[in-house]
Amino acid sequence: MKRPEPVQIVKQRRDVALRALVSGVPYIQYLGMKFDRRGDELTGVLPFDEKLIGNPLLPALHGGVTAAFLEVTAMITLSWSYLWEDIENGNLDFDPVEGMRLPRLPKTVDFSVDYLRSGLPRDAYARAHVNRSGRRYASVHVEGWQDKRTKLFAQATGHFVMPQRR
């Protein structure tokens, strides 16, 4: 039997892949979004910032920010699940300094957001579930919450066109 790889090697490869996926996109940096990873499970994190406010009187997060946060989480999670096997098998060009050259992100076809309650002026979290990912299309559901995991402030479903392998 093959010996399992040392844990640091496995973790580093996963983290480099995730960083390559996320850090190259200016809009994700603009929103201030981050991704937490536990094994293959990703959680999108949106730390609160004044510039994300849409209703200064309440105050509440901008509906467009909520939509964008859920869409980015859905898109990154979809891309991540599609790359997972290749990351695990070391099939992607990998360099701890240079990072990784990854395929393009999936393209959103449509995205439908269900606003359940107003987004409070504090950190938000989101997790996406890939309903189906085929060769060309994918369907993804995503849930967003703030203080309580079971008390969603928004959820969404979107369809995506998968990138072509290079």
Binding site: P56, G63, G64, E71, K107, F111
Partner: protein, 139 residues
């Protein structure tokens, strides 16, 4: 510029997120609103092409739909999004301003129904369309 448009413009420009993205209300009357958002490198979703992220298009669509609801004579106060669906038809051309135009086409006592279109310089060829339901504040 009418006083109403001036007040509405100040209202939109007081929204921190809209202000941060440089959104400008250029027209607003009887359930119709037009908002522009200039191209900005911070909004890039595809670094290889410089195309802005769908999320940024969502933000201008949501703001514009809300403005259309608020400009409708049957709605007295503010509004909140109940649901918003966006269809992305094509990539916005890098460097070009996005113009969103929303029409609040039906209002009941509690719900406002809105349709919106986003275009770049090629105004005949939409970048995205949206449909949404918004809350109506009581009389």
């Amino acid at each position: 510029m009418t006083d109403r448009l001036k007040i509405a413009r100040q209202f939109i420009e007081a929204i921190p997120h809209s202000r941060d993205l440089g959104m400008t209300l250029t027209d607003m009357e009887d359930g119709v609103a037009v908002i522009t958002m200039p191209y900005d490198e911070r909004l890039i979703g595809d670094p290889e092409t410089g195309v802005i992220s769908g999320g940024a298009v969502s933000a201008v669509m949501d703001t514009c739909c809300g403005a259309a609801v608020m400009s409708h004579p049957a709605n007295m106060g503010g509004t909140a999004t109940i649901d918003l669906r966006i269809d992305y038809m094509r990539a916005a051309t890098p460097g070009q301003t996005i113009t969103a135009r929303a029409v609040c086409y039906h209002v009941t006592r509690s719900v406002a129904f809105v349709r919106a279109t986003a275009t770049d310089d090629d105004a005949d060829n939409p970048v995205a369309t949206a449909t949404g339901a918004f809350t109506v504040e009581g009389k």
